[in-house]
Amino acid sequence: MDVALAITWLRAAAEAVTADADELTRLDSAIGDGDHGVNMRRGFTAVTAVLDATEFTGVGDVFVRAGTALISKVGGAAGPLYGSAFRAFGKTLPAGPEVGLADLVTALHAGLDAVTRLGGAAPGDKTLVDAYRPALTAFEEAVAGGAALAEAAAGAARAAGDGARATISMTARKGRASYLGDRSAGHQDPGATSTWLIFQALADVTAP
């Protein structure tokens, strides 16, 4: 992945969360406070502005700056979680204008660790972790099996989608949805859904 692809990915992610903002908000209305779509759109609009305004020399830097923008503009649970994830992801990548598949695997781990450290969610808690973790596993296994980026990204996106859908039956134990107790079951988690959109964006921009 080079700087241009990193930027292309984030722009595609921005488009995706903007296009689906109403749907994300609808999901968040059912089990949360109805702001996830607005939050993500605001955050990724800020990310886009940073991408527009900055000359990047390193891939990692693209994600660090994007993460910082998310922390500064999103608020709520999603801001610190996504922001820290992108920052950790970017900081873990080696310096320079291009990074390899193995670097991406390591960085994805760092991103998930940041989410877990900050939010303490385990798999099954009905959070974005339930999309992120299977996506990471699929990506890592694909890379281990010799897949190229496009193929690994496609697998990750599929796994994220499956993970997001799997949150429907879960009872939330973290975030606002946990206040609903059993009533959170039957609804798809908004954060898991936006995570899926971000992985899907990578699959889309790398698709042959």
Binding site: S29, D35, P80
Partner: protein
Amino acid sequence: MKKFINDPADVVAEALAGLAAAHPGLRVNAGEQYVARADAPRPGKVALVSGGGSGHEPLHGGFVGAGMLDAACPGEVFTSPVPDQILAATKAVDGGAGVVHIVKNYTGDVMNFQLAAELAADEGLSVETVLVDDDVAVENSTWTAGRRGTGATLLVEKIAGALAEEGGKLGEVAAIGREVNAASGSFAYALTAGTTPAAGRPGFDLPDDEIEAGVGIHGEPGRRREKLRPARELVRSALDAILDARPLTRGDRALVLVNGLGGTPLIELYLVFGEVAAVLAERGVEISRNLVGNYVTSLDMAGLSITLTKATDEMIRLWDAPVNTPGLRWGA
């Protein structure tokens, strides 16, 4: 959606402009998005900073002033503020004696305040955090996000604010805030959902004879849906839930807040306060001080919360101390 707004995206900024125009005693920083006392920083005084999503007015911006908060950081509607604005507010009001962050226990609020506190520490400021988690409708557990911060936030801000105003040290101000929180329990009912400007429609729909019990202040559904019952019965159930979690026994004294969630008329709040007073009288609990009105709201949600705080002499003394804010004023 029908609201007195212009563009939904501008609601928070434009309401802040109105707040600034209405209250010369406040300094509203539009760029960094915080509200501070005009006379801040006050050298040697512990500063109190709170914040959270907008839509809970007068909380928090309406509680900035002498004897209560030094600054408030409003986020977007129902969205916690970001670390940058919390940091800016913290630095703006620090008078050298440290800053207490009063944080309602929501994942987003906790994380954003935590990031801000780390950044503030990096810059050499002393920050103590008081977490408010009084909502007994949520079963507490270390395996969940825990209890929500709701009505007790007002009591924590008022009482800790009074101690700071009279010269309390950082640790003391944080300690009394935590003590008030630990002594408080709240329970809320919603008759209708509120509508955020961004979502444009109510967070949930309720049939005409059902209510949500155990709601928070963010338009989310509650713990359970029930049939509407007479106020008398709803009050008994709410007090049972609160007193289960925060026992008050014969001879104890309580601070009582009957708080409207934004769309419930005062006449109903007073009626409910009458029911609360009757139940507490039966149980031999004395109401030392009370507050009835819209203080910790959830936009236009029709609903109310009841908060009981087991009171000490010190809490009552600090409750009675002068306060001069847009939303709460006495002795000044």
